[in-house]
Amino acid sequence: MLLNTIIPLASSIISFVFAFFVFKRYINRKGTYLLFWGLGTVFYGIGGFCEFYYGAFGWNALVYRLWYLFGAILVAAWLGQGTVYLLAKEKLAKALTVILVIGSLYATYKIFSAQLDPSLMIGSGHTGAELSGHAIVTDGVRVLTPFFNLYGTVALVGGAAYSAFIFWRKRVLLHRAIGNILIATGAMLPAFGGVFSRLQVPGALYLGEFFGVILLFLGFLRATTPMGEATTVAAPAD
């Protein structure tokens, strides 16, 4: 009960609070990357809410489709697109945005036209207590997921880890170095949750998402809150 309702509900609430902070910063500072991160965190929240709904009230085809679209396919890619805007050249970021938007529209069409069978979520070691992609009967839908997630993982986790490395190498902006490590770690947790879920570890996906969004949020707050000059000191002469 706790694992399938309270945990995803908590993930969802944290995600929406997180989104509020990101959009607030976007309004104050602009920056397309903040817009994508804000949208990504909203998607995260929608995914968590759908998991909560399923755990609390049972099967609903619309809720399932929303979960698969936002929670399983789009969230990582759209968060990652924010990082692409932050690190890549604008021309490249815009070109990748066009591809992402077209891909997202195609995924939306495929998911909302797919045939579903919730009974398929039970079996192969799955109890049906948690949402999984097995309910999708139509071919060509689930195969989309890893491509979006590969792109999102490379962009979000790789971008955060790369940023942390650059800050560390230059020994500047300690708060951003720490924040980016938290973001990279947090972004990996849902992915590993998904892996362990496939390996039939109960609750792995929901717990991965829960701890993931907490670390992402803490990372964002840490990266956007300077620690002061005292934390970076001059190196002693050799």
């Binding site: 997921t145 997630n149 986790v157 880890a161 170095a177 000191v233």
Partner: protein, 47 residues
Amino acid sequence: MEKTKSPRQYPPLYEKAFPVVLGILGVVIAILLVITVAVALRLMGAS
């Protein structure tokens, strides 16, 4: 060619921790990518 050392340093704890954390992060990212590619190639079930 001699490497130039950064004129600044983080506090000692972070100086020690960062290389370790970044190394672990790199290894974990590599593992995650391998798994994601495996899923894409349908070696593991897609979610």
